[in-house]
Symmetry: C2
Subunit: 325 residues, 2 copies
């Protein structure tokens, strides 16, 4: 995010908060691996940054979970900073965490700032894009969407946390005791779609299952034997009258045969869209978060979601031109 923000005309970076001690006191330029100093020293004392720095917005990327996101960002709100976070649960907290949604909304309104949770997913492909495509439909019977994403670019540590390389039994045990981390976001996406369209479901549920490789899959520093876990498949269903009227699938897999994002809307007219290869999560999440800066600064105070804001867009020109003064 810092690297991208530096490329954008009209964005000035004024502070940096880090979590790891070994980063404290180092120049931000060094930390992001560019060959120049930025004159900004990383600190693990958020209050110091929030109280001594004037900023329009805080970009937040430390957690998937709303409680932590709230605790870490509320002080920024208090000093008048808008917030964009890639915490998955913040993308649409009204379903699973209505009490936090209300708390954040209240705090944001009190301090006159806007808070948005976004990212590639939740935040873009399996919610915002689906909702936007339904705009061309007179009526809808069913929606199905599937994202097949290649996890190979992530670190070995991350892949192991995702259960890659485990046996099926180990994976299931890891799911049960939460040592295996899974995709977070489909319930958020399905709820955002539901509320955007006014489409009510009797039940929303999700499943997690391992994807087993039939032949070995090998990355430079990580090899998965045949018969072991090479990915996981998260499926969420919005059920009405006993039938799944929305099905969202998210596959995160090492070296899948091909990657894609597909959306099928059974309606009038039918809509069948395929994005090949799948939009890259690492690159895309950063893009969406930075690109939404003007919309968040311009929005009325409160907790907002992607469904409430003007359509996302790449920032090519000077960012200041898009911000209302």
């Amino acid at each position: 995010m810092v690297r991208l923000a530096l490329e954008k005309e009209g964005i000035e970076i004024v502070g940096a908060i880090c979590r790891r001690k070994e980063k404290v006191g180092r120049d931000l330029g060094e930390l992001i691996g560019i060959d120049r100093r930025l004159g900004i020293t990383a600190t693990n004392d958020p209050d110091a940054v929030f109280t001594k720095t004037e900023a329009d917005i805080l970009l937040h990327a430390t957690t998937s979970f709303i409680e932590k996101a709230y605790t870490q960002t509320v002080k920024a709100m208090e000093v008048g900073m808008n917030v964009i976070s890639v915490a998955e649960e913040l993308a649409y907290p009204y379903a699973r965490h209505p009490e936090f949604a209300q708390r954040i909304d209240k705090a944001a309104k009190k301090y006159g700032v806007t808070v948005l949770g976004t990212g590639m997913n939740p935040g873009f492909i399996l919610d915002t894009m689906i909702i936007a495509l339904t705009g061309a439909c007179q009526s809808i019977n069913k929606i199905r969407a599937r994202r097949i994403h290649d996890e190979s670019p992530y670190s070995v540590a991350m892949l192991k946390r995702e259960g890659m390389g485990l046996t099926i039994d180990e994976f299931q045990r890891g799911l049960a005791d939460s040592s295996v981390i899974t995709h977070v976001g489909l319930i958020e996406s399905i709820s955002m779609i539901s509320h955007s369209l006014g489409w009510e479901f009797d039940e929303v549920k999700e499943t997690f299952n391992p994807i087993i490789c039939e032949t070995p899959r090998e990355l430079p520093h990580f090899k998965i034997e045949a018969g072991r876990v090479a990915g996981s498949k998260n499926i969420a269903y919005g059920i009405k009258n006993g039938e799944a009227v929305i099905t969202l699938e998210h596959h995160m897999e090492i070296l899948p045969e091909e990657t894609s994002d597909s959306i099928w809307i059974e309606g009038t007219p039918p809509v069948n869209i395929t994005i090949k290869p799948a939009l890259k999560s690492e690159v895309g999440t950063v893009a969406v978060a930075v690109n939404m800066i003007p919309q968040v600064i311009n929005a009325e105070p409160g907790l907002v979601t992607m469904k409430d804001l003007p359509i996302p867009r790449a920032l090519i020109g000077d960012v200041r031109n898009f911000v209302k003064v």
Copy 2:
């Protein structure tokens, strides 16, 4: 639009203005071909409707051109009606008709209403969807998009006005003397993209060319001989440093081999999307216009475009739940 609006919970139709004399005095239900009376009598006296009816919004579908759209809708604005029009030039008038854009914006603000031009194209596939997809991009080098649309569902009269069945020479002469009508909207779409992204071009231009069929193409009531015009191809270019960095193609054709909407963004990440078959214009334009009703009612007064409003979405639930009071 009337048929679709009738299906939506929370929309009440309170008046009907028609252009053709033979429709005057007839019940709207009869005019739209349903087997019940709606108790609304069509009139060709707009003032009578505007002054005697209270309505939140006027849906307007009579013309492609902004001057006519303005003249026909300004009295509705005066009595406090918001306006959604499918007039193509109104979808993004800032490029070709800045003076009208200003006039409409001024009138809308004066009377406290919001005016939107929209439709399938311009308004959705070759602008709104492209802009939304760029939201996932950190940077963009080039954008190319192509819509191949089947014109077969339109009336023979309309197909003839589009130059279908002419020789190449006749088509070119028809273009020159405006007896052949072409697609309107690519300049609007390209400008909306340009302004949304802050991407400036040295020049924007468009071309119109016939599509010639190699073998005969036959509809139930219309046949095109081999070697004659079976469609037209409109291409618009946004040019920067001598190179087309945006290219938008719109093919309207009788019985094309296949229909599709494709968007290719050369950027980080690259985005390649295909919608097959192409979204149907007739169905989709009506859908987009009706679906945008809540966003338009909720928006601040003035002339707005699709890039300014929250993402489009299908209306499934009660429309009143989406309107701020």
